[in-house]
Every structure is written in C-alpha cells, then in structure tokens.
C-alpha cells in the first residue's frame, strides 16, 4: 500500500517575486513474497522556495526542504541557485545544495532471487537473516572478503555544486555545459556480500564512507530543419572513493605484473566500479509529416570501466581487467496509420555488440515490430 498526499502553494507578493511552499506525507507498507518482513516506510516533508528577480537578468532561487523519516530521523536541506542572463544568447548558471537520500524500500527490504540466472539481491535490513537461511540450506559457498555481518544502511548526505552556461548561438542551436562537484557522505552503492554454490553472487547495499564525483556535462541540440533534429551529449566523470585514493597516495596498494609485485601510485587508481570516465550519446530524429512517419537513430558510447576488482587488491586500478569501451546503436521507425494505430519497427543494439567475457548479460541485436492501438 502506498499513500502520498501532497499540498502545494504558490504566492506572488510583488512582481518578479514568487514564494512556493508545500508539504507532504509518504506512507508505504508492503507485504510481498520478496520482502520477507512486513515493511513500513513513513516520511513527512515540507519545503519553502523563494524565487526573486532583483535586477535585470538575474534570477535567484533559494530553497529549504525538511524531511522527517520514521527510521532515519530528520534532515534540513538548503539550496541556492543563481541564473544570470547576460544577453539573449548566453546565460550563466550556478547552484549549491545539500542533499539527503534515505535508503529506499528495495535497499532495505528486498529479498530477490533471479530465477533464470540465479543471483540474489538482499536489502540491508534482511541481509543477515536471509544469508543465515541460505547458509543453512548450503546455498552459500563463502562470504565475500571484508563482510563482517554488519549490513546496516545509513542515509546518504551530499553537497552538490554546479557551475554552467547556456548558449544559443543561433535560434535553432542550444548548447549547455556544466562543471559539477559532488561530495557524498555514506554514499549508497551495491556490493557482493557472498558467493553462492551455483556460481552466482549475493548482492546487497552498503555505504561508502566518503566519495566525491566531479566532471563536466555538455549537451547540444541542433534543429537543422523543422523535420530534422540532432542532439548530442557528453559526460566526463571522476568518481573517487576518498579512502581508496588515500591508500594509493600513501603507497599501501600493491599489484602483480606477471610474477613481479609493484607498488601502485596515486595515478593508478581508476575510481568506483561500473563508472566510465567518458560517456557520450548522439541522437538523430527525422520526421516526415506527410507520411506521418518518424525515424530515430541513437548511438550511446561509454569508455572502459571496471566491473569489479579483478586483481585482489580491493580497488579498481589500472592493473585490473576492464570492460572495454563500446557503442550501442538503436534505430526505430514509427508510422501513424491513423489517429488510433501506430506501427513501429526497430532494432536495439543494431551492430550486435556483445562481450561474452566481460558483460555476460548484454543481449545482442534485438529486432522488433510493434502495433499500438489507442481506443
């Protein structure tokens, strides 16, 4: 059961000033087979936001949010944003905010075993008891290293800073770029807690003490004609576990090169698992109005990333085996036969990229046809 009432007020005391406020309540309870215990989740929130345009081109947004949670207590989250419109073509934006994220329902209570593949995901609240049952049933080969029976999950706190710009060099081109820095305390992430006798893993959630992510995001949209649009996006990302970076810096991490042992340097640390340094996408939309047809092609690229620590030092470093970078292309065509009927066809992963060795769960090319009827 889920209950989520919310009230919102907007008030304009004078021109160019707006106050908005709201409050709400979130009540969730679940009694499902994959949530072992009856789970409650109760939280209340309230927020106040002031938007002001004191002088030409400047827009200031100040907000304050209050969260109260039945397990995780209360939290104030302030935010300040600044938007400066230099002229009709260029704006500068910046924001700083404090974030709070309590573990969600799944992260606490999930008890899920994939019937086909055989892996298991356990919420932190049920991990200890479910693991004990699995051990008793001889489903567990061994616990992962560093697992000491403490699965408690704390909420995630963050400070987020963004500085960016929006630029319209022409009426049909929009470009935005943004530099970001996030400092996270108790970041919630997944990890392997045990290995099963069927060769698969048991996953759960845990907090990484201190993490910072930083990088650049850029997006561009170009409406070449009214029928043809191209968008492109790019992200540079450094996702760094601070204690890991420290261990590298102080020469406490070792790796093997053939049969020689070497001390790793600070520059050898790659970052958190499953994060690529570079991701990019390009999308082309083409519409043919007289045929009621649209066509789109998307290409998504990600550079190499570490799936898990492969060389036993506990970190993702340059001596690990990485998942090599790849590009996946999607194409789709939609044709509206009449107002109620749409025929679609397409292919996901058009060039059939697979990597059995590194990403065993990546499906190859999937072609599909679809008929949508709206009554």
């Amino acid at each position: 059961m889920m209950l989520r009432p919310e009230m919102r007020f907007i008030y304009n005391p004078i021109k160019d000033q707006q106050i908005s406020a709201g409050f709400g309540y979130d009540y969730e309870t679940l009694n499902r087979s994959d949530f072992t215990t009856k789970a409650y989740y109760r939280s209340q929130f309230a927020y106040l936001q002031l938007e002001s345009k004191p002088i030409g081109g400047i827009d200031i947004l100040a907000g304050l949010r209050y969260d109260h949670h039945n397990i995780y207590g209360h939290q104030w989250s302030p935010k300040l944003g600044l938007h400066y419109k230099l002229n009709n073509h260029l704006s500068l934006l910046s924001s700083i905010g404090y974030g709070f994220k309590a573990p969600d329902f799944r992260q606490l209570y999930l008890d899920f075993t994939n019937a086909g593949v055989g892996y298991t995901v356990l919420g932190s609240y049920v991990a200890a008891t479910q693991l004990a049952i699995m051990q008793k049933n001889r489903q567990i080969q061994q616990l992962a290293s560093g697992i000491n029976g403490d699965y408690a999950l704390k909420p995630e706190h963050s400070i987020n800073v963004n500085i960016g710009a929006q630029w319209n060099p022409a009426s049909n081109i929009h470009i935005e770029a943004n530099v970001f820095y996030n400092h996270l305390k108790d970041m919630i992430d997944t990890r392997t807690i045990a290995y099963k006798t069927n060769g698969q893993s048991v996953y759960s959630y845990y907090n990484i003490d201190k993490v910072h992510t930083q990088g650049i995001e850029a997006n561009a949209t170009w409406n070449i004609t009214s029928c043809l649009q191209v968008t492109a996006g790019y992200q540079l990302l450094y996702a760094i576990n601070d204690s890991a970076a420290n261990a590298f810096k102080h020469g406490q991490v070792y790796a093997r090169e053939g049969n020689t042992i070497i001390k790793l340097k600070k520059s050898d640390y790659f970052g958190l698992a499953e994060r690529s340094r570079h991701t990019a996408n390009i999308k082309v939309y083409y519409t043919i109005p007289k045929w009621h047809t649209d066509l789109n092609i998307r290409a998504i690229y990600r550079s190499k990333y570490g799936m898990y620590d492969t060389n036993g030092d506990g970190y993702i470093d340059d001596k690990d085996t990485f998942v090599p970078g790849y590009t996946i292309v999607y194409v789709a065509v939609n044709k509206e036969i009449d107002k109620h009927i749409i025929v679609s066809a397409g292919a996901d992963n058009l060039f059939n990229y697979t990597s059995k060795k590194s990403i065993s769960d990546m499906p190859g090319r999937i072609g599909y046809g679809k008929l949508t009827i709206n009554f």
Binding site: Q142, A144, S145, G146, Y195, G199, S201, Q252, V253, Y254, A255, R256, G258, N259, I261, I262, K263, T310, N311, G312, D313
Partner: protein
C-alpha cells in the same frame, strides 16, 4: 686538537678489531618451486631449504591446499605443533620488510590459525569467475621457525610452473614462493 682527533679514530678502529663475537652467517635468499600440496600437508623447513617428511617435527610451515599452518601454538589438528614457531602477515614489497617485529607473531590454535583461511583473508584471493587462486599482491608472511629463527616470504603462485597467467585451473596446488631466511638465532633483521 689534531692529536685528540687522531686518538679518537684510533680508539674506534681498535675496538672494532678486538670484537671477538663469532662471525654471523649470511642471510639466505631462495626461491622454492612447485611444492605440490593438494593431497595432504607438506612440511617445509627454511634452514634445509626443502620439504621434510611427515614423520619429522623439524618443520616451520606446512601447506595443504590453500591452508598454511605454522609449527607453533596449541593447535592439535591435523597434528600437534611441537615447535616454537609463529607467523604474521604484513603488507609491502619483500625488500621493504627489513626485520621481524617480534610483537606481532601469532600461533595456531584449534579455533584460529595464525594465517587466516579463506579468500581475501589470508595470502590469496579466489576469483569466482575464472576459478583461480591468486596470491594477493603486497602480502608478505613473516615467520618464526620451529627453532626460533626468522624468515620472510612471498608466495608467487599456486599453479604448476608459476605461469604469469593461469590457463589450466587444474594444475593447482603447486606452491612457488621466495623468501629470505635469517639463520642466526635471535637476529630479527633480514640484512647481513
């Protein structure tokens, strides 16, 4: 002033010449290849640079599959520890470990071995995907031998012929390791 300096230097050289203590034996560095230890415990003696038979009590450490035991402590399984051995695990390059820290040694008991077993806990990690055992890089085992001498060792491989990349997972159970042994009783440093 000159005379005084001369006298001082003479005194030092004189004292050095009169040192009658027996000349210390050199530390011994060696590499041991392919000790097969997957069927039963195989005992190793650093002074002899070799394995010793199961009937001998003059062993320092013994291997059985991925478990390493030391000849010291109250443990009785799978056989009694009759020596005065001990062991601790430390992190570094072998050359970084210049002496044995006598405060750190642990011994085997029936509840806990000096070298904890299991992937990631002791000297190796087990890769669940490739099913291979890899010695953890940077792990150095410091050992007190059954007769109270010191050694430091690094395990290089658990596979026959110590391949850089394991291709045959069935050739397991072959220990290759290199070590430095200090043959002089009571000397904790690993230098001459």
């Amino acid at each position: 002033m000159m005379t005084l300096a001369f006298a001082g230097s003479f005194f030092i050289s004189c004292s050095s010449d009169n040192n009658d203590s027996p000349k210390l034996a050199n530390v011994q560095s060696d590499t041991i290849k392919d000790i097969y230890a997957e069927k039963s415990y195989v005992r190793f003696n650093f002074a002899q640079k070799d394995t010793v038979p199961a009937s001998s009590n003059d062993w320092d450490i013994a291997f059985n599959s991925t478990t390493i035991i030391v000849n010291g402590g109250s443990a009785t399984t799978p056989f009694a520890r009759t020596g005065n051995g001990g062991l601790y695990k430390t992190t570094g390059l072998l050359s970084d470990i210049t002496s044995a820290d006598t405060t750190k040694f642990a011994v085997d008991t029936d509840n806990a071995l000096a070298l904890t077993t299991g992937s990631g806990n002791g000297w190796y990690t087990y890769d669940m995907t490739s099913h291979t055992i890899s010695p953890k890089a940077g792990v150095v085992l410091v050992i007190r031998t059954h007769d109270g001498k010191y050694a430091k060792m690094v395990i290089d491989s658990y596979y026959k012929d110590a391949p850089a990349t394991v291709t045959d997972v069935y050739s397991s159970g072959y220990y290759t390791f290199h070590y430095v042994y200090q043959p002089n009783k009571g000397v904790t440093t690993f230098k001459n």
